[in-house]
Amino acid sequence: MGDFFTGYEVGDFFDEMFSGPGTVRPHYAKLLDRFAEMKPEEFERKRDLAASTFLRQGITFTVYNDDEGTERIFPFDLIPRIIPAAEWDVIERGLVQRITALNLFLHDIYHSQNILRDGVIPKQIVWEAAHFRSEFMYFDVPKNIYIHLCGTDLVRDERGNYLVLEDNARCPSGVSYVLQNRQVMRRVFPNLFARHRVRPVEDYSQELLNMLSYIAPTGLTEPTVVLLTPGIHNSAYFEHSFLARSMGIEIVEGRDLVAEDGHVFMRTTKGLKRVDVIYRRINDDFLDPQVFRKDSGLGVPGLVDAYRRGHVSLANSIGTGVADDKVVYRYVPEMIRYYLDQDAILPNVPTYLAANKDELAYILDNLDKLVIKAANESGGYGMLIGSQASKAERERFREKVKKNPRNYIGQPEIPLSRSPSFCDSSIQGRHVDLRPYILYGEKVTIIPGGLTRVALRDGSLVVNSSQGGGSKDTWIIGENEERNNGVVE
């Protein structure tokens, strides 16, 4: 065993790489061999190379409320997270099942609302959801697909079971890091890729463009697709620009677009040019000041009118936010049973709703053990980790929950699995999650792996980039791997 992992502690958690002290899991064996032959200086050089590549290419994200320069590199950990094909196959089936059910759910609640009539989900939960758009009742979206892009966050508990933590069905971000991390890893560890059969992620942008073209208004063979960004100051601007570039489409801001006679156009040096599909990275609220928030300077007046007339398609559709409401999330297993007559392949994390009287009592009695989340916040904001919070913080949340129970859920604190990561000059176990990216067009396509986020602070369970998280390259090792073991080398 190489120096790097001497003294590595597995701890009381499920460790992605070691099944016990010094016992490596089979799918990590070759990686461990590689590290055994590596000198600390070589590892140091590789870390420098990776860091300078990210900085030089300007792969950064923006942090709000931070005076010291708004751009930061998303910390990158060199030790990949490896998932064997057999595990991945289950995840993949589980995600296809989930997005299929979520789309059937959205179509249902924007039409006949059978699932509410049959009492599977309480009516008021949907009606009171902040992102339910009653204006779009009975509206038919192109090809009947609501969520075209979804990022579903998975975690593993202490026994290694995969659980769904949440769905991001509005504007999921982070996929550019998956592609960039892979590019950097290939440069830093060229030989590792030769030894492993890592499933490629590089065709994601092509799949994304295929999906966007597929949902174009009918009759168009070569639709004009654009990506709508809030602008350069948005935290994910790098990603917007990266995706537009890899698809070869225009990245536009609201001010570049104009709606006229029920169509949307972009202002070009040669006059106005019609736009057919908009991959929008702006939330519903800001899309069109004539329909949603009046003070939005990011959107396009008249855009929603063009969308209603079917002259322009949006990905994701308007109104998908109701599907990633954390209260609605609790009912996804029921949706799967209701629409597909199947059991959920990937279970949810147990979830208590403050809206239910007896569950509210349980939440309030166990604030020090639970994680409390607001129904519609993301990025690690609006959240309480009871075991780590001060008494004052817990009391603050107690008041919030009591005041607005519909808006809060409680979940047991999941002891997330850990993955060896380089911290403070040695390799230590750090908690990770996984966000696979799902595309729903002519078929459902899932990027092999996804974004592994890692909480780099010791003991921290929060993996969000805005809260000190980093990321790792995620490898799905092909099914022939086990058979070829020892032969490839």
Partner: protein
């Protein structure tokens, strides 16, 4: 291409060129002061004023520094964040513009611009400026040249490239006129004659600012004379930093965008640029000195502003009610 993107490419290119020219100007002035240090009675501090004047930022300069010496002047031109035309500010703005046009420019161009930006922002950049300003300025000019080379060899020579070319050449024409005009602001030390030793050193410094000394030597034999320097820098048809050369080439780029012939015009920007181009083709250095060199250069700068404005209203301010291009 999106109007906003065309505008950003144009300004990205202008700002890089401006940063380069500021580096040239400061570099040559510094060398010039070293030459001058051997002369008796030289007033070192006064020698920075022309640079500040040429940037039209006298008031800001006085407001920002307690002691208006060479150190302050160099800081003002290079790293001063509050000077919108400092090298630092120019590269920051160039990068901001590049960031909004990432999908249009090549990755190589972005990396180069980012590298240059990170350099002026870094501690090592500041250290280099203190320990060896010459090397600092070299890094900026070479960085800008590298960007131009990378642009020409990695970006499709289409509309976006044309806007980048126009930005660069228009800015260069403007900067060259300002560099030449610096001589107008320089006062000869008392007792020195026009055509004397110091005067000649100053004219040579002007040529060096434009990397033109060697090219000038090839074109003219004998002493460096003011009217010859002005003639070379304003009207030489083949030297790539002369005003005439810059105007010729951005005029051609304008026509390349619209597809109209260079003997005709399709919009106001082309009309103004064609007019300036032909004026420069036929003007003699005698005409210029009769008109007054300083006045002539000011007039060029004003016309460049008009062309830039016309370019913007033609391509970048497209209103909703214009012809609709589909497909």
């Amino acid at each position: 291409m999106l109007s906003r993107v065309a505008d950003s490419l144009y300004w990205m290119s202008r700002y890089i060129e401006r940063a380069e020219n500021n580096a040239r100007l400061a570099d040559v002035n510094l060398q010039f002061l070293l030459d001058l240090a051997n002369q008796p009675q030289a007033d070192m501090q006064q020698q920075w004023n022309p640079i500040i004047s040429s940037l039209e930022e006298n008031e800001l300069f006085v407001a920002l520094y307690d002691k208006l010496d060479g150190k302050a002047a160099i800081d003002f031109v290079t790293l001063q964040e509050n000077n919108p035309n400092s090298i630092y500010s120019c590269l920051t703005l160039a990068r901001e513009n590049a960031r909004t046009t990432r999908e249009q420019i090549s990755s190589e161009m972005w990396e180069q611009i980012n590298r240059l930006y990170l350099f002026v922002k870094s501690e090592s950049g500041k250290k280099l400026l203190r320990s060896s300003p010459f090397e600092f300025f070299k890094r900026i000019t070479v960085g800008s040249h590298l960007f131009q080379g990378v642009t020409d060899s990695t970006m499709t020579h289409g509309e976006g490239w044309d806007f980048i070319r126009i930005g660069k050449l228009l800015e260069r024409a403007d900067c060259t006129s300002r560099i030449l005009d610096v001589k107008y602001h320089i006062l000869l030390p008392s007792g020195e004659k026009v055509g004397g030793n110091i005067d000649t050193i100053q004219w040579m410094a002007v040529l060096k600012s434009c990397s033109a000394l060697e090219a000038y030597r090839k074109a003219y034999v004998g002493q460096v004379a003011p009217w010859k320097v002005a003639e070379f820098i304003i009207t030489h048809s083949a030297f790539p930093r002369s005003i005439r050369f810059s105007v010729d080439y951005f005029d051609a780029a304008l026509h390349h965008i619209s597809g109209s012939s260079e003997s005709n015009y399709m919009n106001e920007a082309e009309r103004l640029s064609g007019q300036l181009r032909y004026d420069l083709d036929y003007v003699t250095i005698g005409d210029i000195f009769d008109f007054g060199l300083h006045e002539y250069l000011e007039q060029i700068q004003e016309r460049l502003v008009e062309i830039s404005d016309a370019l913007h209203s033609t391509y970048c301010a497209s209103a909703a009610h214009e012809k609709i291009v589909t497909g």
